[in-house]
């Protein structure tokens, strides 16, 4: 007989109730209570866990967190970009043409460009660390539990979802705190639809190129689209292949603490170092492969990237993506984006043989319309996040079946949403 049937409720709830009953019994016999003081922690919880204000306050803090990360990191990103630009320029002077191209275009131009996002990613993780160390993040999970439950998710799914805005890899690893297998699997499957920071450079580039003053709204709409699709997918999975109710959320809220700079920096480093490892492995290999495919056959590829291996692959797959308005250039960059989404930007730069965000944006505007740009942003949001995420999914789910399911699902969904955007946009007269 199952424990739930014997106890009449979830065993975890029964255990928690009994534990607190015992604590109260002991306290009643040993402690003389005075008038209860309204502690600072009570004061904060009164508002942070407020029925109506709790969620708006959380959204306010989340917005402040993103504002901090994006705006404060901007000059530092520029600094790193200029540094690698100088290195790339210097390495062009090397007499051996292949080596010069490898260093300037492949390493300093390619990998260096991706490394410019280090300040952004570290700033975001620093802000998350402050919220976590203060004890607020646990409250955020608590206030979101009711909402998450309605979506067929567990309260603890919230933290991985939030971390997903930084990077899906640690976010998927954070699902280990979810005890129920079904709850965990649903969270793992929908997490890649949460827009990670790697997608942001691509959004910034495309939105900046096509939407001008509306760029931030276009970027925000991608975050929104990802969240909506993740919710719908969670509901669908809960009603079909992973049928059942989410398990109850039991959590002891930690005390509020003033976060220390030292502690937050350590937490930021622990998470941010994952990106550095990715940069030193997947992104480095990706940059080298990308350089090889777009620079060879040597001599021919230098005349036109269209004649390179990259161009040939793009041309071969172009018919599949033509209904979305994507040509061989975009298709090639999407293939390389499987290594890591940031590489999409880098590959567009190589394909167009231009350097810098402004030059790539200028080239995109000539060849594509805002509608195709928007469909491209949606496709980038939804298709396979990156090689590292697929590997993490395999490791965390312990199943190739679910890993393949996720890959196929994301590709189909990306294609359908891209097609819907171009289809509906076309019908409404947008170009």
């Amino acid at each position: 007989m199952k424990a739930r049937e014997v106890l009449g409720d979830d065993p975890e709830i029964v255990l928690a109730d009994e534990r607190y009953n015992l604590i109260h019994t002991i306290l009643d016999t040993t402690l003389v209570r005075g008038a209860k003081k309204w502690a600072q922690s009570d004061m904060l919880d009164k508002v942070f866990l407020h029925k109506y204000l709790g969620i708006p306050v959380f959204l306010t803090l989340a917005w402040a967190m993103f504002q901090f990360a994006f705006d404060v990191s901007a000059p530092f990103m520029k600094m790193i970009g200029l540094f690698f630009g100088l290195l790339a320029e210097a390495s062009r002077g090397i007499p051996n043409e292949v080596l010069a191209s490898f260093l300037s275009d492949g390493i300093f131009g390619g990998l260096g460009f991706i490394l410019t996002f280090i300040p952004l990613i570290f700033s975001l993780f620093f802000a998350i660390a402050i919220l976590e160390d203060s004890g607020y993040l646990a409250r955020a999970a608590f206030i979101m539990d009711k909402f998450m439950f309605k979506l067929g998710l567990h309260g603890r799914s919230f933290i991985p979802m939030l971390l997903g805005f930084g990077c899906n890899v640690p976010a998927m690893m954070a699902t280990r705190s979810i005890e129920s297998e079904k709850d965990r699997l649903i969270t793992l499957l929908i997490n890649p639809f949460i827009s990670c920071s790697a997608r942001l450079p691509v959004y910034i580039l495309i939105a900046g190129a096509f939407f001008g003053s509306m760029a931030s709204t276009a970027i925000w709409s991608m975050y929104f689209l990802g969240i909506v699709l993740a919710i719908l997918l969670a509901l669908l999975l809960r009603k079909t292949v992973l049928r059942g109710e989410p398990t109850p959320f039991i959590m002891e809220l930690p005390l509020y603490k003033t976060p220390t700079f030292h502690g937050s920096v350590i937490h930021m480093w622990d998470r941010g170092v994952q990106f550095l490892k990715k940069a030193g492995t997947y992104l480095l290999v990706g940059a080298i492969i990308l350089w090889f495919l777009s620079s060879f056959p040597w001599g021919v590829a230098q005349e036109s990237v269209e004649l390179s291996y990259t161009g040939q692959i793009g041309h071969a797959l172009e018919p599949i993506f033509r209904p979305l308005g994507f040509d061989w250039r975009i298709v090639s960059s999407l293939i390389f984006g499987f290594m890591a989404k940031e590489i999409v930007v880098e590959s567009l730069g190589i394909i167009y043989a231009v350097e810098g965000e402004a030059a790539i944006a200028g080239a995109l505007v000539v060849d594509y319309t805002p509608l195709i740009g928007f469909a491209l942003m949606a496709f980038i949001l939804l298709y396979i996040p990156c090689l590292a995420t697929v590997g993490t999914m395999r490791k965390e789910s312990g199943s190739w079946k679910w890993t393949i399911f996720q890959v196929v699902l994301s590709l189909v969904l990306a294609y359908l949403i891209g097609l819907t955007i171009t289809g509906i946009g076309g019908m409404l007269g947008y170009t």
């Binding site: 004061m43 306050v57 917005w63 402040a64 504002q67 000059p75 520029k78 925000w220």
Partner: protein, 157 residues
């Protein structure tokens, strides 16, 4: 109960004033920025400037956040006026949110200042007045509230 009604009324009036200020400025940011937000570019009222300083910028999302801070202050007014100690919570959290936004926007100003010092391309025309947002200049109003909520421990007995 925490403090007498006379003190509560003063705190309530203060919270109402600061809550309304945040809310109204937030709403103005939304109205001014709405045209840009929906893409029409047309604004119901022009940005509000004083001596060349863009005091209330067009910023829909930023405006919504200011309105939420205002709502936190306003929610506690009735309890504070009754002398209920729980009303202080709204004063404390309102001030905390105001402080967080002040910190974030000051950090943004400093970062942009760095961009200007290094004369990076996008910062050549930057001046510190560009970043003097309501989140910064409204914060001094929140300081007395934060001081009261944090130091008057006897009100929490």
């Amino acid at each position: 109960m925490g403090f007498n009604k006379n003190v509560g009324t003063v705190i309530g009036v203060y919270s109402f004033f600061i809550g309304m200020t945040y809310t109204l400025i937030g709403l103005l940011e939304i109205v001014i920025g709405w045209g840009d937000f929906i893409g029409s570019g047309a604004s119901l009222i022009p940005p509000i400037e004083l001596a060349g300083i863009n005091l209330i910028p067009p910023d829909v999302l930023g405006g919504i956040m200011l309105t939420i801070i205002g709502a936190v202050y306003l929610t506690g007014v009735r309890q504070q006026a009754r002398g209920d100690r729980e009303g202080l919570s709204f004063l404390l959290v309102g001030s905390l949110l105001a402080a967080v936004f002040f910190g974030v926007f000051t950090a943004i100003m400093l970062a942009n200042g760095l961009g200007y010092v290094f004369q990076f391309e996008d910062w050549l025309k930057w001046t510190w007045l560009d970043d003097l947002k309501p989140e910064i200049w409204l914060f001094p109003l929140a300081l007395p509230g934060a001081y009261l909520a944090l130091t008057k421990k006897e009100w929490r007995e």
